[in-house]
Amino acid sequence: MTLTHEPIEGEHFVVVSETTGDSWEIVVGLEVHCELATATKLFCGCPNMFGDEPNTNVCPVCLGLPGSLPVLNHNVVELAMRLGRALHCEVEPSVFARKNYFYPDMPKDYQVSQFDQPINVDGWLDLPDGTRVGIERAHIEEDTGKNTHAGGSGRIHGADYSLVDYNRAGVPLVEIVGRPHIRHPEQAKTYIDELRAILLTTGASDAKMEEGSLRVDANVSVRRVGDTALGTRCEVKNLNSLRSLGRAIEYEARRQVDLLETGERIKQETRHWDEGAGRTRAGRSKEEAEDYRYFQEPDLVPLAPSAEWIAAIDAAMPPLPAARRDELASSAGVAVTESSVVIAVQRDLDQLALATIAAGGDGKRVLTHVEHNLSGDGAADLNPATFAQLVGLELGGQLTATQAKTVLAEMVTSGRAPDVIAAELGFEAMDSSELEGIVDGLIAESPEEWADFCTGDDKKRGKLQGFFTGKIMKATKGQADGKAVAALLESRRADRG
């Protein structure tokens, strides 16, 4: 069965079942674990470092040796609160709890986490498309070690033997529990992009999905359009990239619609995404639900950050992506949802763009360059004044768009002024009579193609437009302005008709 995504009033999305023609809504809530970028672990002084030799960053505390006790890392609380405030959460007095279950990668066979009294509650995150996704909580917990299963299936069940690396055990995590306000696979990916930007901006995490410092689980359910109650959800794990996230949500929604349309029920369960097979699979079924027997961690004292501490965090908060987009869009005179605005902020080039606009550069042209021509290193070091100068040359007709792109690349490399580079490359504004002469000469050289261009169907004309444009560009060594060429060809065709 295929599902077609259709936007409703530009806000919600539905999927249409091709089997029944019924409309369904996908509902997604994301749980994100991110490792905090502290120098040391949550409860001990061991380095918080990815990629070191196994079991080298360990001590009695993070190995959970008998008699050892945890001591809370102050910096973890700082970073967790920074993230919480960036997500518009309230910082509440909180307590740590033990989540009890047996697993060999967990040295104490319980995980220290926060349960009924988390540090950050009730916030939100605004997506570039204007959607506001609620944040239920963002709490502190410790990471586990890492198992490697040798032989058999590569999973713990049936492995010949297993190795455990405890370097990651006790690394500080924040789990960000989003409310089920996401309605589309792409929106889920955007949410993660946006969250990553906030994590990087606040310095809370390096947020690398490929190194596992940002891990995403998706709670997916579907419901018929118009229903207000949530459907039964499945939690999809093992999502190692944004691509997997989008595909897994799409697959899972399709699977659930299929089941529901054939009269079956959705079983609430954990499912693992298999990227190779492109499907989710149910986890090994457990005879009964896990009972984690949470209770307050008696080895730690309650956490009550002072109002002064929270105020200091707010005061030092760097501008966040949503605010940066607002500022840039208003300065450039474009909509905040424009892709160029989103990309400029993603690439950390919004300050450059703002300074260039302030130096007199046209907002739309500046953003076009940022979006299409400034993806490489060194762009942020561009001089806004010379960048503005380049945009001026382009708008004044002294440089074509293609030439401007070339000059800009050279500016990034050499830092020299655009007029100097343009002169060196022999880029001069071609006056229109000169271009007309070249075009008329080429038309005369290829009468058959010209006739076909003038009378042929759209397809043929498109092809021949490419033919003539290519010849003109060759003749002008690329200095002709593409738009001017197209306009000239069109006007000659009209003259002929």
Binding site: P60, L63, P66, V71, N100, F102, I156, S162, P298, D299
Partner: protein, 484 residues
Amino acid sequence: MSAIPSTALEIAAAVRSGEVSAREVLDDHLARIDAQDGEINAFNLVMVDEARAAAAAIDTQVAAGQDPGPLAGVPLALKDNLCTRGIPTTCSSRILEGWRPPYDATVVQRVNAAGAVSIGKTNLDEFAMGSSTENSAFGPTRNPRDTSRVPGGSSGGSAAAVAAGFAPISLGSDTGGSIRQPAALCGVVGVKPTYGMVSRYGLIAFASSLDQIGPFSTTVADSALLLEAIAGHDGRDSTSINAPVPSLLESLGQGVDGLRVGLVTELMGEGIAPDVAARVRQAADALTAAGAQVGEVSVPAAAYGLSAYYLIAPAEASSNLARYDGVRYGMRVDAPTTAEMNAATRTAGFGDEVKRRIMLGTYALSAGYYDAYYGKALKVRTLIVRDFEKAYADFDLLLTPTSPTTAFKFGDKTADPLSMYLNDICTIPTNLAGHPAMSVPFGGGSDGMPVGVQLLAPALGESTMFRAAAVLEAAAPALDEVWS
């Protein structure tokens, strides 16, 4: 060789002055252990080589004119749930077989720094769960006063070591009475300090919110000396109190004139042996004679302490003891899957009482039962704190029996866990409140076995508590004195 003094204060003074050497002191105690511990079984391990090296180092310091510290050359026994670097630490459990901690407990570091000579690791009820030391995987410890009787527990080895003269001082841990009850049954002094006064770093946890390390000694002054050495803030224990250590030795001569002492009515009636209750009244009279104002006080919630304790302590224990899973250290019984290996290891490694409490605690925390059991127990705990607050509005100290009876015979209570649990009825409330308490020997029972009376104080009230303890020590009848 000069005569070896018997108390820690005297030994330290003699070693510091060069009157006797730490080696002589050690040899004297090792000889006693050698002669008698085969029968008593106070020690899981006698650290002969390490102790000799430590004593030699003390003697070198003294010879060089340096002061080794307030415990210079004093032999000290450590309960075998205190981590000692490179030395087996077993909790008297098979499950920790072969494990050597890579670090010293904070208290071990502190007694070493004060010049003490750690002489051995003492026996206990497995993971400190018990009141008779009969739950040890390495056989019971015998009461030095009568080897047909238990020494109490769970720190039975540490109490017996001091009572038998194997060491003038020792360290134990007290979760529900595990220092005070064996102190009472063996006729020595035992102190449970305020929760957080002594660092728990390196104490293998039984119930983290209740565990506290404390001293045993033959005299009140020696307990003051040892507590001063181990107390004080430790950055490695988040529950450690950041407050100055009280000067306990200084408080000893201050008497009790004008102090208000309350006799807790709930702990003087049903369940308390008449001979024990009579000794407590005699102790109250001694305090009155010394100028204290003694009255009766009710602490109603104390009656529910035992029930709350046997939910809270097992709940925490069920989590604390989860890590003994065969994966990283200690015993492992191989099996086809990890879960089966965990189960086989724990089945073989833990004794019955430990299993019983893990099951109790797991049940108390389970979904659907939490509110009725663990949650309710926490409320009772709050009530106990409140009732103590009320009592301490009118009284400076409280007085109770330490144990309902004197030392009982081996096997008397092993068939009925509940009767064993009742041993802790007088000691448990202070653990739930986090308050200090201590047991002071005060004559004998009708069977001629020692009776201990318990002094209770509000949090950080150790100085006042030790003042009264010194008065009781001076007034205590001899063990064989017939009571009337």
